[in-house]
């Protein structure tokens, strides 16, 4: 297999298998068959064109689109664009510029030019230069490295927006001033700057990997696809990405619910009527009678904690349930921090502006009393007192929250009453199971009354929703 004369040929299978191993540690399931396909793809495509190689390996190894977010940075590590510092030869040439020697303004000028021209190759070269010149830290071997954060802080590409804009106005003959496309220009430039930041991050990873070993960096690298992002720690952009995923996810869940409904509609034997019918055949059940299903769509009641820490989770779930509303005869959503208010209307209207939903709930609905911290006992009790009419024998209740009562009365009796009045009651908790019952969490006590499920990311939520939602 190995041809010692060609050093690259010998390392290719190794590199493919290391790449596969790294992808597996990030949760992508790749079988041996796919590894073999990947190696065959490399053999067919050759190593000459890096982009072709990237697409070929992705086609052979990946199974869905979300995995691409993990694949691309890992690929960059194992099949780097270049080796060593720009201009230097080979990794580890110790020459390190001090920041003062580095012509930062010159780099910013050239970057502004590249951004204006949307020249990706130039942007990549500049990213390499920037990381080399601005990103280095430490001096002792072993503790030194390159930081994307530091590079970006010193370079501050986001401040170039106005300059790039001016350059476009001055140079671009096509964009006459006052043209309609001016309105989208700022966003376009912002996207290019974001691309550049990503290039810097990739470059910093590559340089560090050369020092510390590719496998280790690939393993430790943090890549989180949006559906795996923890609700409690998801950043703004991840929440935005999640919101965009609401409609496709709802469509998927709707098909799953429809399938469950179809399955549930057939095959249940009505024992009483079967036995009754068997009397005419001497007690032998000749003709099984199937249970008739009443085509009633179930009702759904959502009871969400919208206090700061868990608001992201609650908002996402509310939007998801709203998108699924045609699957149910009725969906009612209640929000609480320490007081309960119905927000069904707010959410139905809020579909057009999902980002502002959280803000509108806290301002337009009476969810807080005198203080701003969550009080489960008070909220549950108030719900039973004021909104008990929402619960019928056909309704399923989902309580969403982290069960952290701030040392107040958990109101177990109220939850017990809710569980008794509703057909089914579930509790979805966005905290990891290991943190339940720590500190002021009373997850265990609630969990004894109603089944409680860990629901930390969109993936878990969609699995739970597909399984638990009534059909």
């Amino acid at each position: 297999m190995s041809t010692p004369a060609h050093s690259t040929a010998a390392t290719v299978p190794d590199r493919v298998t290391s790449l596969v191993r790294a992808l597996r540690t990030h949760g992508i399931r790749i079988g041996t068959g796919e590894s073999v396909d990947a190696a065959r793809a490399v053999a067919v495509l050759g190593l000459a064109d890096r982009d072709q190689l990237r697409e070929g390996l992705a086609a052979a190894l990946l199974h869905d689109r979300g995995q691409r977010a993990v694949f691309d940075p890992v690929f960059d590590l194992y099949f780097p664009r270049r080796v060593g510092a720009p201009g230097g030869d080979g990794p580890g040439d110790g020459a390190r510029f001090e920041e003062k020697d580095f012509d930062r303004d010159g780099l910013r000028d050239r970057l502004a030019e590249a951004l204006a021209a949307s020249d990706r190759a130039a942007m990549a070269a500049l990213a390499a230069e920037a990381v080399d010149g601005l990103g280095g830290y430490g001096s002792a071997p072993g503790s030194d490295g390159f930081s994307a954060q530091q590079t970006l802080e010193r370079l501050r590409p986001q401040t170039l927006l106005a300059r790039v804009r001016a350059a476009l106005r001055a140079g671009g003959g096509e964009s006459e001033s006052g043209a309609f496309t001016d309105r989208v220009e700022a966003d376009e430039i912002r996207r290019r700057i974001e691309d550049f930041r990503e290039l810097v991050r990739a470059e910093a990873r590559r340089r560090v990997a050369e020092r510390r070993g590719t496998d280790e960096i690939a393993r430790r690298m943090v890549v989180r696809t949006a559906d795996r992002a923890d609700f409690l720690y998801a950043g703004r952009s991840q929440l935005a990405e999640l919101r965009r995923a609401v409609h496709p996810l709802a469509r998927k869940l709707a098909t799953r619910l429809a399938a469950r409904r179809r399955r549930a509609a057939r095959g249940h034997i009505d024992l009483r009527r079967t036995l009754r019918g068997s009397l005419s055949t001497g007690g032998v059940p000749m003709r099984p009678v199937l249970r008739r299903r009443r085509p009633a769509r179930p009702e759904l009641v959502l009871l969400c904690d919208v206090s700061g820490s868990v608001a992201g989770f609650a908002n996402f779930t509310m939007l998801l349930v709203q998108a699924l509303h045609d699957q149910f005869s009725r969906v009612r959503v209640f929000a609480f921090v320490n007081r309960v208010d119905e927000v069904t209307e707010l959410i139905a209207r809020g579909a057009a502006d999902p980002e502002g939903l959280g803000g509108r709930i806290t301002t337009e609905a009476a969810v807080t009393g005198w203080h701003g911290s969550s009080d489960y006992g008070g909220a549950l009790t108030e719900f039973v007192e004021r909104h008990a009419a929402a619960l019928t024998s056909r309704s399923s209740v989902f309580v969403l929250g982290d069960a952290r009562t701030n040392q107040m009365d958990p109101g177990l009796a109220a939850l017990r009453r809710i569980a008794r009045m509703a057909r089914r009651t579930y509790w979805l908790n966005p905290e990891p199971r290991s943190q339940w019952d720590t500190g002021d969490s009373v997850a265990g006590a609630y969990g004894q009354i109603v089944p409680m499920y860990e629901c930390r990311d969109a993936r878990q939520l969609s699995a739970l929703v597909g399984r638990l939602l009534p059909v």
Partner: protein
């Protein structure tokens, strides 16, 4: 079939399909490795077109299996021609049972459906299994044998194996998660919206009469619309429609009035139109 990736790009371009490097590379690999190609992506980016284009450049016959809820073995694989079998039985009165039986389960009475048709015969074929996600899970099981070994088992006849592998393209809109077993038999390709330059070339190819500067600004505005948080992002098909509309309207530059009048061509939901109008500073639409 193809000499290189560039060869694929060039030949696809001749039929009017401008392929991104990702598309060309994956098509080339699928042909070389003899594996089916699973294509996903938003509606209107040319998933089905790709199969047609590949069939055109390889002089292959396109066999299409359109999936829908409830498609089954007799629609996808093969079916016995019962009426003809009955006729045959009544025609041959004096035969023994054994004679009749071997005769009525012969090829003559078999109605090949797309999957069987694709693996029989010696000519080049492209098998397009369209909207795989619409079919039930059971159909996937049916496909596994066809896709991995290119063979179909008909109990009465035995196993039919392809003498020449068809080029298989499956498309999916991801309205249902396809099974892992199916996915790992295929090369995976996600066709996304094209980048600005490619989309400009596509518009120029499909709507040749449109002014170059106008095309460029049109593509930029569509790009901006895609970056917004819309229910249905405009796809290539909509860009081309918009370009045609502008051509028909006789617009020579993109301004507020033109955009306001024609935004409905690109955006298909009223709330999207409203959100985009707000973002683009259009007066109330």
């Amino acid at each position: 079939m193809f000499r290189s990736v560039d060869d694929v790009t060039a030949r696809l371009a001749e039929t009017g399909y401008l392929a991104s490097p990702a598309v060309a590379t994956t098509v080339f690999l699928a042909a070389r490795l003899g594996k089916p190609l699973l294509v996903e992506g938003p509606a209107g980016v040319g998933k089905t077109e790709l199969a047609k284009a590949v069939a055109a450049i390889t002089d292959a016959r396109l066999i299409r299996l359109q999936c829908y809820e409830g498609v089954d073995e007799s629609r996808a694989l093969y079916e016995w021609n019962h009426a003809k079998q009955l006729l045959r039985i009544t025609a041959g009165r004096d035969e023994t049972w054994d004679q009749t039986r071997t005769d009525i389960f012969s090829e003559e009475f078999l109605l090949p459906r797309p999957l069987l048709a694709a693996i029989r015969g010696d000519d080049a074929k492209v098998l397009l299994i369209d909207e795989m996600d619409k079919a039930d899970v059971e159909v996937e099981g049916l496909l596994l044998e066809v896709l991995s070994d290119f063979q179909v088992t008909v109990p009465e006849l035995g196993t039919v194996t392809a003498t020449r592998h068809p080029f298989v393209v499956l498309t999916s809109n991801a309205s249902r998660e396809l099974s892992e077993a199916l996915r790992r038999r295929c090369l995976f390709l996600h066709i996304d919206f094209p980048d600005e330059e490619l989309e400009r070339r596509i518009v120029a190819l499909k709507v040749p009469g449109l002014d170059e500067v106008l095309t460029a600004s049109l593509v930029r505005v569509v790009g901006a619309l895609r970056a917004m948080d819309l229910r249905k992002a405009p796809s290539v098909a909509e860009t081309v429609d918009w370009a045609r509309t502008l051509l028909a309207l006789g617009a020579d530059r993109l301004d507020e009035e033109v955009v306001r009048a024609s935004l409905g061509v690109v955006l298909k939901h009223q709330e999207d139109v409203r959100a985009a109008a707000a973002k683009l500073d259009l007066d109330a639409v």
